[in-house]
Symmetry: C2
Subunit: 342 residues, 2 copies
DNA sequence: GTGAAAGCGCTAACAC
DNA sequence: GTGTTAGCGCTTTCAC
């Protein structure tokens, strides 16, 4: 039952089984060049019968062409990145390219390692999250001789192309919305920042804009690890106890925002009457909550799509060597947890 | 600024830059064989200075060794699979092996395509979700000449090794628990089954066990697509209206269970007094809910760990060709939404 | 429409 | 400790 093959089949095996030269077999299997219908059939039959699986290692070495796109992201547990990936996959589906995913856990050293590892397979392009990389990583990206698209964020200095939103602007927009709505005693909750540059930039945009309106963050709390929903709940409980006069809570992601929302509703606190809430990302999950959390869409799918299109275009030979810079517009989704006062 | 290299560097470049033969350069870069400290330094300096990234394509072809493990799963959006992946990564981190992920979207044809694609890179092993594959996929797995571990499920006939839980048994256990607690009017909600064999098996185990106790499912509802939380909410609303005398709801996953829980609490319905609830998976998210949903742990991380260990052991040369069969025990986590009646 | 020869960039095996 | 030689399994190129 469990007869593992000892050797994998080669073109030569198919050639012998079909009585056609290796070269022609290769042509048939790649649909390349003109081959008579008769030989094509012979070859395809033999290949299928034997269960031949071409060796891409050899093919790639010979053709100097590897149809892989390295996609480097911080995490898979985040909801956000699987959505970006699905945008990428959908675009690459229609091309010869295939995405290969590497995960960095938000660690620059790991990013460097993953990048090195992936580049050693000579992919046709790189899509990588963020604009902040170690010197070595930047050097590798520039040396690689392939298109590079940095995604998610546009606040910085890209190596090559770039697709994303301005997180500073996103923070600013949300601050404006909150201030315009009349809230003044604002608390902030988010991840410990050094790890997550995009969250940091949103925070910066947020606080600066508040400052311009003469408002200062009244309280703040940071977390790392654990169930985000539970963390949101805990941090919110702690914060409303510590600073009871808060009238708004801004969360750096929807998951902790959802946790906070559930907690406040449970406590019978009037949202958004007594206290308003907002998150960030526009995740799917929010649709199932008792109230729709006010949030801001990060254009995740679209970012994936645009980035993949840039790589695909390069690969198709449209090598306009101009780096593309695509800035998408985050859109506020009003939700039920922010209401203009009076 | 944006000077893309036109050609990638080869061993030869490092060889020339360091004045050391290609072979010795290769040895240094792979930490293989004895090289004097002096030449080692010269080589490493040159490699670093040039920014050399080895070409694994060529290396793999020459050494007939590819340190990749193909990991084939149905979806990334599911919470469940990222956790399996993290178990796999943690184990492989300490080896020369690297996981490469392929996603099938629960479609057999896509599984076949992804598998073919991955096998053409000649990985050192395959970890693949489920025991149900097309004939062609099974044939490829057997032909590949590499260790194969089918994961998540053990109810079926594995190609080679297998690590998972019995989903029939999981369904049975939950049914027993519910019956023992005194519930009799039971509703079921889950995904449309043909796609998800494991959900189907849980359902089968569940209904059969109920049948033995003379109980039949009082109502059922299936969904596909959309936000699981929202779907759980909707389906629950529909079901409790349609069949008001239900005293228990069994959900095929925690996400829809959470949606149902939130809905019922909002309606002021007494959980678990008036109606009990249970889900499946033991996801992280549950920790942030108002009540802990009763659920069953699917041993996701552990499955990943065990599977990776099997592949790693093979790769390390412990090629006992005996297929491993590891059956893990799903454990009930009591939670707050199931209470023994009377 | 088909085949023969050369070689992609590296490493195994052996010589020195 | 270091160098030389011969491929790995394909594709490119060019000849027929």
């Amino acid at each position: 039952m469990n007869t593992r093959a000892k050797r994998t089949l080669t073109l030569r095996d198919v050639s012998e089984a079909s009585g056609v030269s290796e070269m022609t077999v290769s042509r048939v299997l790649r649909n390349k060049g003109d081959v008579s219908e008769a030989t094509r059939q012979k070859v395809q039959d033999a290949a299928k019968r034997l269960g031949y699986v071409p060796n891409k290692i050899a093919g790639a070495l010979a053709s100097q062409r590897v149809n892989l796109v390295a996609v480097i992201i911080p995490s898979l547990g985040n909801m956000v990145f699987p959505e970006v990936l699905s945008g990428i996959s959908d675009v690459l589906e229609d091309t010869a390219l295939q995405p290969v995913v590497g995960v960095t856990d938000y660690l620059p050293e790991k990013e460097e390692k993953v990048l090195f590892e992936m580049l050693s397979w000579r992919p046709s392009g790189v899509i990588i999250a963020g604009l902040e990389h170690s010197e070595a990583s930047r050097a590798m990206l520039m040396q690689a001789g392939i298109p590079v698209v940095e995604i998610m964020d546009v606040d910085g200095d890209p190596v090559d192309s770039c697709v994303g939103i301005s997180h500073r602007r996103a923070g600013r927009m949300m601050a404006e919305e909150i201030i315009n709505a009349g809230y003044r005693r604002i608390g902030f909750m988010g991840t410990k920042m050094p790890l997550d540059h995009r969250a940091r930039k949103r925070f910066e945009g947020f606080t600066r804009t508040l400052a311009k309106a003469g408002v200062e963050i009244a309280d703040q709390e940071f977390y790392s690890g654990g169930s985000a929903l539970a963390k949101g709940r805990e941090m919110t409980a702690k914060m409303v106890e510590r600073t009871p006069d808060l009238d708004f809570l801004y969360y750096s992601n929807d998951m902790i925002g959802a946790g906070g929302l559930l907690y406040l509703l449970e406590q019978g606190i009037d949202v958004p009457g007594k206290i308003g809430l907002a998150g960030f990302n526009g995740v799917d999950l929010l649709e199932g909550l008792p109230l729709r959390l006010t949030t801001m869409d990060a254009c995740r799918r679209e970012i994936g799509v645009k980035a993949a299109q840039i790589i695909a275009a390069h690969n198709a030979g449209d090598l306009d060597p101009e780096p593309h810079l695509v800035t998408l517009e985050p859109t506020l989704s009003a939700g039920d947890t922010l209401r203009h006062k009076r």
